[in-house]
């Protein structure tokens, strides 16, 4: 969308900046050698921006590590060549590679906070790179570092020079990482999922900055992402990878209009976007087989299932002084030492209704869902569930009460939420064993029934979590949540850790289950495109308060709050 014409791009005629030929990367594992990248060919011209798109395990990151020659010790380049401005990187000695890294080719990584040395001032970290590549003498290196910080639009760079990474926000850290990468004005920048884990608004700012800086310096960029939309929005050319192979290479204008490869088409369809239904996410053949979406309107006159009023959650600010005071229990904690994670919110969820709870990280949406789940205690307010104030029951005691059956949850991270030492069947059976009076004999049959319901093949029932794929784990988590036939399920970003194609299937499954079992959903998410597909109504939260709530259609198309508008504007729009 911000793409300006780039006249210096001269594909095909001049020597490409980067020429990857027949690259094969192998990893030594306990099961023998595995090829992570198979005979990949990619070329990148000077000034060009290239997107490499693929789902997890497609080999997209490994390819870039191979280019930089920073594969870990199990990996090695088995075949092919990597030419950088005509120089064979595969044959280059390590000292020469070290010279190139940071000076001629740089890389920025996912999770910016982790990418910075936590106990070194960011100014010094930038200086390390500058000095390493002899960009500047010792006496002026600090000025240069500040200048570099300024270039990535860090306010008050002189102060920030002395800051440690933990003192900066995630977006700010990513700017520092970019500064680090661009400090020596390299010719090539490889950005590996640079915006994953950042909020949409921050994501946009970071991407815009990268594009702007690389454009003005005439740099070439490789953007590695799982998000086809992002790639298409920012890149000249897109390479799609699947299982170590390049399946398609096209200019980004064409790839959305005329995807050549079936896999690209599948990916494209699975990417949530405005103006489609859930079924449109599935590959065409599957979508055709799926039954049509039920369109059950919520009965307005029926009493709502859940009524939340003035819900507040406060946390004491962490620090030694408070904990000592708490230990002796004498003085009450002063007002200003309290942090309000949830600041007096009220909303309802009707029976059979699906409500989206949207907001950026730290807005209080997770705290809200934990309180509703009765996993943590509220500070004040009421949570009326089916007319009963379950908020008054201490969380400690709630686990063994019959009400527990009625509210269940599907967790964000399917791996983390499964006990590593329980089989899938044991995990699904756990709530049944604890909260229902099912007989031992009937247990297995019930587990199989549930597995069938969530589309988990029965042979997976006796596997442990680490033997299951992400999608399978998600299904186990869902089966566990519906085992007790609850009235309300809270879905806490249930697809955030999944690849888009898996996400498409899981979202459809959730929709089908809701229709089938007549449950209500509270869908907690940061992804407005997904919320749009699944929810009847949406609640937008910011800094612990509800800024806007209403029917999904209305909020999406005519947002009333400025914050909602910002959120919507930040979603990358592929050129469809």
């Amino acid at each position: 969308m911000l793409k300006a014409p780039t006249p210096e791009v001269d594909v095909g005629t001049a020597l490409p900046l980067l020429d990857i030929r027949n690259l094969t990367v192998e990893f030594a594992t306990r099961r023998g050698t595995v090829q992570a990248v198979k005979k990949v060919n990619i070329t990148l011209a000077k000034g060009e921006t290239l997107g490499i798109v693929g789902e997890s395990g497609s080999g997209k990151s490994v390819t870039s590590y191979a280019v930089m020659r920073i594969l870990d010790r199990a990996g090695s380049i088995a075949e092919g060549s990597v030419l950088f401005s005509g120089l064979d990187l595969r044959a280059a000695p390590e000292s020469e590679m070290r010279d190139l890294r940071g000076r001629e080719m740089s890389m920025i990584f996912q999770s910016p906070r982790l990418a910075l040395n936590p106990i070194r001032k960011i100014g010094h970290q930038i200086e390390d790179v500058l000095l390493q590549h002899a960009q500047v003498g010792n006496e002026s290196v600090a000025d240069k570092a500040i200048e570099v910080l300024e270039q990535v639009r860090i306010a008050r760079p002189k102060e920030r020079y002395h800051a440690y990474p933990f003192e900066l926000s995630g977006g700010m850290c990513q700017r520092v990482v970019i500064a680090l990468a661009l400090a020596c004005r390299p010719q090539l920048l490889i950005a590996d999922e640079p915006t994953t884990g950042l909020d949409v608004t921050t994501q946009k700012a970071v991407m815009d900055l990268v594009v702007e800086l690389t454009r003005e310096r005439g740099m070439s960029t490789i953007l590695i992402t799982h998000d086809l939309g992002l790639a298409a929005a920012y890149c000249d050319k897109v390479v799609v990878m699947e299982k170590g192979l390049v399946v398609e290479t096209s200019p980004s204008e064409t790839i959305f209009k005329a995807p050549a490869h079936a896999y690209t088409r599948k990916l494209m369809r699975a990417t949530p976007r405005p103006g489609i239904t859930l079924r449109d996410l599935l590959p065409e053949d599957e979508a055709a087989r799926a039954r049509p979406l039920a369109n059950k309107p919520v009965l307005a006159d029926e009493a709502p299932l859940l009524v939340v009023e003035n819900l507040v959650k406060e946390y004491p600010r962490k620090g030694v002084s408070t904990s000592i005071k708490k230990m002796f229990g004498t003085t009450p904690v002063p007002e200003n030492e309290v942090f309000r994670a949830v600041d007096g919110i009220s909303f309802t969820i009707g029976r059979g209704e699906s409500v989206g709870l949207v907001g950026e990280s730290g807005c209080g949406k997770s705290t809200t869902s934990m309180m509703l789940m009765r996993l943590i205690d509220k500070t004040s307010g009421t949570i009326a569930f089916g007319g009963e104030d379950i908020g008054a029951i201490p969380a400690r005691n709630f686990a063994t009460l019959p009400q527990r059956k009625k509210i269940q949850m599907v967790f964000q991270d399917p791996t983390d939420s499964l006990n590593p030492r329980f089989t899938a069947a044991r995990a699904i059976a756990d709530p049944l064993l604890r909260l229902s009076d099912i007989s031992r004999g009937a247990l297995r049959a019930k587990c199989e029934e549930l597995a069938t319901q969530v589309g988990l093949p029965l042979q997976f029932l006796d596997r442990f979590p680490h033997q299951l794929s992400g999608g399978q784990k998600a299904r186990v988590g869902i089966a566990r949540a519906i085992a007790l036939k609850p009235d309300l399920i809270i879905l806490d970003e249930p697809t955030a850790a999944l690849d888009v194609s898996v996400q498409a299937v899981v979202l459809n499954l959730l929709q089908d289950l809701k229709d089938e079992l007549g449950m209500s959903y509270l869908f907690v998410s940061h992804d407005l495109n997904v919320v749009r597909l699944l929810c009847d109504r949406v609640i937008v939260m910011n800094t612990g308060r509800i800024v806007e709530q209403g029917p999904t259609q209305r909020v999406m198309e005519a947002p009333e709050a400025a914050y909602t508008r910002d959120l919507l504007a930040a979603i990358p729009h592929p050129p469809v």
Partner: protein, 297 residues
């Protein structure tokens, strides 16, 4: 502890145990030292079981005519001051040392492991009290504390085991507490709560089995330390009762003879002791590799 659910009809468990086995084999192949440790451990366990039935001499029988004989075909490790066969004594001692090691580990695991898990999981006062106790023990010079306990309670095998367990208590508390604390907010613990598990059931059925692998590492290190501790106590005269063969006491007794040239009296039990402690320590590293998810490529 874990509720066994009778819902696994087919060959699935075999699949999983196979993968553990193959993983273990992989670790050993990858790291020859760990392979060696596993092998030695098996040898020590076998000697502890069958040692007394395979030795050539009665380990307690003196033979003053054969006293202080250097290693020979008749006495592979030589004889001690009373003419007892050192080879037989070293082999037979394996069982006692193994028992001291295992018993103290079990004891400290029950005390420290559970206290630590509870402290990490519940936090608050439980944590404060358990941590204070652990800190207090830690503030003692540990060996002196062990000495004091054995001196006060009397020098029996039981008391040596108790002393070793108490001395190791803080380490177990630390490890168990940290691990339980990390898992306290883990998704699967929350999920278990949603499934209707009470606190104690979560502690025992969900958290404990998950931190067992990491505790195993601590356990194998403690086993080595237990034997060293017993040897140290023997050196200052607080070891097991004579004439019971025990490596530490044999080393302590033989140590005085090194300078007079009868090196074998201390050397062989010393070597046995060293190999055992060495094995337990390396086993700890190996087990760590085995349970470290990062290594499960």
């Amino acid at each position: 502890m874990t509720e066994t659910v009778t819902i696994a009809p087919v060959a699935a468990p075999k699949h999983s145990s196979n993968s553990v086995l193959s993983h273990a084999l992989y670790i050993m192949k990858d790291n020859p030292v760990t392979g060696l440790a596993f092998g030695l451990f098996a040898l020590i366990a076998l000697l502890a079981l069958f040692g007394p039935y395979i030795v050539p001499y009665d380990p307690l029988a003196s033979n003053t005519a054969q006293a202080l004989k250097a290693p020979s075909m008749a006495h592979w490790f030589g004889t001690d001051q009373l003419g007892r066969d050192i080879f037989s004594r070293v082999i037979v001692a394996t069982r006692l040392d193994f028992i001291i090691a295992i018993a103290s580990v079990i004891l400290v695991f029950i005390m420290g492991g559970f206290a630590g898990i509870a402290a990490g999981f519940f936090g608050g006062w439980t944590d404060r009290i358990v941590s204070r106790i652990a800190d207090t023990i830690m503030a003692f010079p540990l060996f002196v504390l062990a000495m004091g306990i054995v001196a006060a309670l009397g020098n029996t095998v039981t008391n040596i085991v108790i002393a070793t367990a108490i001395v190791n208590f803080p380490l177990y508390v630390r490890v168990a507490r940290a691990e339980a604390n990390v898992r306290r907010e883990a998704g699967f613990v929350q999920a278990a709560r949603l499934s209707g598990n009470g606190d104690y059931r979560i502690l025992l059925a969900h958290i404990l089995p998950n931190i067992m692998p990491i505790m195993m590492v601590q356990i194998s290190l403690t086993m080595g330390y237990a034997i060293l501790n017993a040897a140290g106590l023997s050196f200052i005269g607080l070891g097991v009762k004579p004439p019971t063969p025990e490596w530490g006491i044999m080393v302590a007794e033989g140590a005085a003879n090194i300078i007079s040239g009868e090196w074998w009296i201390a050397l062989f039990p010393g070597a046995a002791l060293m190999i055992a402690v060495f094995t337990f320590n390396l086993l700890g590293d190996g087990l760590r590799d085995l349970v470290d998810p990062q290594r499960r490529t």
